[in-house]
């Protein structure tokens, strides 16, 4: 990462003026009941990637939204090349050369790539759209920056990685000299992350100023020139990336030493609690998403299911939870055939499910914390008395669970939608684990969850394993799979490519399997290398 | 703050609605009236200016009011445009509980509701139509029923239309095949066929009392199919009259004198006159009878009249034939329905 910048005339390859230096000084932003940014200083220079690191809720996104004109700071100044700026709307920020890639993509799925790029811009033809001209420019930019994407495709047809490229193209098209990337890797596969990083490095070389928001330590260490850590709305510290390490950054983020490596005792295998036999499950578009999958999960083990997103993991999890019909094959839960049973029957047999979409499938977001905690057991004592709910018991149990599982919430009556992702996940965990399940299906349990909560959730899963639960852990995070699993099954295009021993599996071995190479499939491997 | 504002706005909307749609236009009685006025309330499915069903009933009461000596003797309240039955039922119940002496449920669609409400207010006189059912079989004693023998005038107008038609094709724009609309249409058709064998009478129903647009399309269709004499029933015929006017077809009015709407094309009208039965109901109530009588409006008792429009002259021989038919219906030698 060099701060040497090409193009000495002060212009970027896009023809835009560079932002030599952007400084935010003493930024204060309050929301009702929260001090989101407390006198934050932050700066970035042309040719540099500056990482903004912090737990969820640390105030990273809020800070950047002020730079992008979505919020106005309560106090503090924003200077670009030494000139103070007052942004009333994103329009002002865009005009000043700032672009932002939001964590949740800001794309209109029903429009094409070109239409998304042209959206909101003046047309060179007045009241007529000039999509052909926009398309030409998009092609140029995508050539220049190696951002491959079909300009005429509809956004809903694109993979997540491609959508992100559209976001970057959108910003570049608008002449962004400074680009803010909010958690850009959260939804990408390892390969896509590599592509993104390559693009970001090139942009920095070309003289763009980049702000990289993340809570993933290894990514920050891999991509940035400088790191600034935010905690509870305040700057904890700022370091050149070369002079810091994972342990120091983790401690700065969380405010206490963090365990990055878990200690695990050997698995005490019990009986098979969950058996999947030749399962075939349909996908959303009619194809077979899960093809002839057979797996067994024993009491007291964690079986990790690895794979790149979109290879049938989600459909498999939904079929196991009873949320998606099975085309053929069987599911045996504690010895009983539940293939076509509704979710309730599976819950009754002792299965718990932590869904991938925690806000959509795991909670009712308008309901309170307490109501969400008793969703599955509301009809049983102590929560119900004949036809009535026992509110005292519900509150008591809820308070106990909130404490026990360390859910940060103002009260048990707070609607779940007001909680952060990590806390919602802890809440689901509290609900599911407090039922002492025999089988636990955990689908992406720590996606989008900060380090502190991730560590906590991992510890709980290991405890549960110790207590004899059969756990199927579905995750796209290889580090997570490797840290927790006793055995690892890899899924590719709906099939199980192979099952390997967890503690001894290497990242390379798993990576190849995730690309579809079968165990010992030597000739297949060579094909890939060609 | 926002929710307060939006609630306020809703309130404004609601108040405007109350003011306009269902404000019972009660005429207040003068203070210190020597005698308590008789209070009547009318609930109607369309408006008092619909030139048809509702206007006929309302204006009859106004006429009786004038004869009796004004609002100090007879107080009239009404709710119009009660095309939704639940709204009408609520209005009927409201008036009864406010102590109105006579409550008119002017619409055959209100019957079921009325049968439930009437027993709760045994001292109130109810009347409804068009029907012959006073609910006496259900043990209800305070409900009058009224039913225009619409087929009688229909027969007369059908006779005139058939004889005046040049094309030999007549068009009938019916709303819903029920009540007085059906008997009128059937009478018109039968009368035309009796007067001129071989005449073609085209009948359409729109399935709605209020769909003006479809009624206009129905008239368009009749004319395109060769009809030069049109008639129809319900308040929605104003749409058909407009088309007839534009295309130069003649029109025969039903329920009310529709001449003023198209003075150049309306030939004759069957007009309902409820004043007779109104006066009788008032007299019966004074005598202690609160219901149980089913009235029929006929040519004989003056409840139905045929009103010509002088600007569209009917040839004397046809008028003579019409008078003959009227006489025949009154003395029973002509049956207006097959």
């Amino acid at each position: 990462m060099s701060t040497q910048v090409l193009g000495l005339d002060g212009r970027l390859p896009t023809g835009q003026m560079r932002i030599e230096e952007m400084r935010m000084i003493g930024i204060v932003k309050r929301f009702p009941g929260v001090l989101a940014n407390d006198h934050v200083d932050f700066d970035v220079r042309a040719g540099e990637i500056h990482a903004l690191l912090g737990e969820n809720g640390a105030g990273k996104t809020t800070l950047m939204r002020q730079l992008y004109g979505l919020y106005r700071p309560d106090a503090g100044k924003i200077l670009i090349n030494g000139v103070e700026q007052h942004f009333n709307s994103p329009q002002d920020a865009i005009r000043a050369g700032i672009g932002m890639i939001h964590q949740h993509f800001m794309l209109v799925p029903s429009l094409t790539v070109v239409e998304n790029v042209a959206l909101g811009l003046k047309s060179s033809r007045g009241v007529l759209l000039d999509l052909d001209r926009v398309e030409k420019r998009v092609r140029e930019l995508s050539e220049q920056y190696g951002l491959k994407v079909d300009p005429k495709a509809y956004v809903w047809q694109l993979a997540v990685g491609e959508q992100q490229r559209v976001e970057i193209l959108k910003a570049l098209y608008r002449g962004a000299a400074l680009l803010i990337l909010d958690e850009p890797t959260a939804v990408l596969t390892p390969q896509e992350v590599e592509d993104l990083f390559r693009t970001l490095r090139q942009m920095a070389r070309d003289g763009h100023a980049l702000i990289f928001i993340s809570h993933k330590l290894h990514e920050v260490l891999a991509i940035s020139d400088r790191v600034t850590v935010l905690r509870d709305g305040r700057v904890v510290g700022s370091r050149p990336t070369k002079e810091t390490n994972k342990v120091e950054l983790a401690q700065m983020m969380v405010g206490r030493p963090v365990i990055l490596q878990y200690e695990r005792s050997p698995a005490q295998l019990g009986e098979v609690q969950l058996a999947i036999e030749n399962l075939v499950v349909g996908g959303d578009r009619g194809q077979d998403a899960v093809r002839n999958v057979s797996l067994e999960v024993h009491a007291g083990e964690i079986l990790g299911l690895a794979g790149v997103s979109g290879n049938g993991q989600r459909e498999l999890a939904e079929a196991l939870a009873g949320l998606r019909p099975v085309k053929s094959g069987r599911i045996l839960l504690c010895g009983k055939d539940v293939t076509h049973e509704p979710p309730g029957a599976r819950i009754a047999l002792g299965q718990s499910y932590i869904p991938e979409e925690r806000l959509r499938d795991g909670t009712i977001k308008e309901f309170s914390v307490a109501d969400n905690l008793i969703l599955e057991d509301h009809h049983k004592p102590p929560f119900s008395r004949q036809i009535f709910l026992n509110f005292n018991a519900i509150r008591e149990v809820s308070k106990r669970l909130v404490n026990e599982y360390n859910v940060k919430t103002p009260s048990v009556d707070t609607p779940v939608k007001n909680l952060s992702g990590g806390n919602i996940q802890k809440l689901i965990l509290a609900r599911e684990l407090s039922r002492r399940p025999k089988v636990l299906i955990a689908s992406q349990p720590t996606r989008g969850v900060d380090i502190g909560a991730t560590e906590y959730i991992h510890q709980r899963l290991l405890e549960q394993r110790q207590a004899g639960t059969a756990i199927l852990l579905i995750s796209e995070d290889l580090d997570e799979i490797r840290a927790l699993s006793d055995r690892i099954a890899v899924m590719y295009e709906g099939e199980i490519v192979g099952i390997v021993d967890g503690p001894s599996a290497t990242a390379e071995q798993l990576g190849l399997m995730m690309a579809g190479v079968r165990e010992g499939g030597q000739h297949h491997l060579e094909k890939i290398r060609l | 703050m926002k929710s307060v504002l939006s609630r306020l706005l809703m309130l404004v909307v609601l108040v405007a609605l109350l003011l306009s749609a269902c404000a019972p236009a009660a005429t207040p009685a003068p203070t210190q009236a020597p005698e308590k006025p008789l209070r009547v309330a009318i609930v109607m499915p369309s408006s008092i200016t619909d030139m048809a069903f509702s206007q006929g009933m309302y204006e009859a009461w106004v006429k009786v009011q004038q004869e009796m000596g004004g609002p100090s003797k007879l107080e009239i309240a009404y709710s119009e445009n009660m095309f939704k039955v639940p709204d009408a039922a609520a209005a009927i119940r409201d008036y009864a509980s406010q102590g109105y002496d006579i409550v008119i449920a002017h619409g055959s669609q209100y019957g079921t509701s009325l049968a439930q409400i009437a027993p709760e207010f045994p001292n109130t006189t109810f009347a409804w139509g068009t029907t012959t059912d006073t609910f006496a079989d259900q043990g209800i004693k305070n409900v009058f029923a009224y039913n225009p023998a619409a087929e009688q005038g229909g027969y007369v107008l059908g006779t005139i239309a058939a004889l005046m038609s040049k094309t030999g094709v007549l068009g009938v724009c019916g709303p819903v095949e029920a009540g007085d609309a059906k008997t009128y249409v059937d009478g018109f058709k039968y009368g035309a066929e009796q007067a001129r064998p071989g005449v073609k009478v085209q009948v359409t129903y729109t399935g709605s009392f209020s769909d003006v647009s479809l009624m206009a399309a129905a008239a368009e269709t009749h004319i395109a199919a060769g009809a030069d004499m049109l008639t129809g029933s319900s308040q929605s015929v104003v749409g058909a009259i407009g088309v007839a006017k534009e295309k130069g077809a003649k029109w025969f009015g039903q329920q009310w004198d529709q001449t003023s709407l198209a003075p150049d094309i309306v030939v004759a009208n069957q007009v309902y006159d409820y004043t007779g039965i109104i006066k009788d109901m008032i007299a019966k109530r004074k005598a202690g009878t609160l219901g149980g009588v089913a009235y029929t409006l006929t040519l004989e008792n003056g409840g139905l009249t045929i009103k010509y429009n002088d600007r569209v002259p009917v040839p004397p021989e046809i008028k003579a034939k019409a008078d003959e038919v009227i006489k025949g219906i009154i003395d029973g030698t002509i049956k207006p329905l097959p």
């Binding site: 709307s89 029903s110 | 706005l9 206007q55 445009n81 399935g207 003006v212 368009e220 104003v238």
Partner: protein
Amino acid sequence: MNDLFTIPVILGIIYSGLRLATPYLYASIGEAFVQNSGVYNLGVDGIMLMGAFSGFYVGMKTGNLWWGLLAAMGVGLLMGLLMAVVSVTLKAEQGISGIGLYMFGLGLSSLLFKKTMTGVESISGFQPVRIPLLGNIPYLGDVLFNHNLLVYGAFLLVPLASFILYKTPFGLMIRAVGQNPQAADTLGINVDRIRYITVSLGGMLAGIAGASLSISLINLFQENMTSGMGFIAIALVYFGSWRPWGIMGGALLFSFVNALQLWLQVLGVNFPYDFAVMLPYAMTILALAISVRRAAMPDALGKPFERGEF
């Protein structure tokens, strides 16, 4: 049945069908703008009634139908604006505010009618204009090219609306605001302003829809004369998957079937009339069930926009 497939009958169905479709086209296309921007206005019928009354009243009093049309547009625009204030600025529940607007229009048009007029009166509306050349085509000239201006206008509105929605930056913004207002917001598009424009425009077109009844097709005003046409117009927007051409298809299907069923009755085809009356609705529901593409539905439909709800 043979009588049905004669030339005069087919021409008659086309002629009546086009006229019946006219008010639906104005109202539905207007609502398509509204819904494509993420708002739904259930008050269309109320606006139509106010448009019908003001168009008729002003046209009658001034003796100039154009003033009447202008009045209907103005009144429709104002009512649309009222809906925009309630649904966009105050972020009220749109279903309820729309019904409120409907009742407001229904009540106010009745009240004004009673205060200003003694009864139903008719006027001479816009006269048919025969289009040169095209109007001389045998048979078809009469039924297709001999209508009054508001009928032509309704059908010209379809390509115009389609052009605006799909070929202009403004249309792109409308669709973006309806699909993903947050995304539009981050690009500096003023979501609320776009919605104000579309909801007002929708109101204006609903006003014209009402006027097309009172000063162009039926040429009189009667209380509640739309009798729920505005609600059918809303259903047609779904039917047409929010696209003007699709909406026109739906409006024509509904209207042609309606015209057809009247002919069935007129020709005395042995056919229960109840069924005939039901036919257009049944056909529409059937076509709706087959054709509606929920994927085309604006994602943000009915959801008020608030910045920061990411």
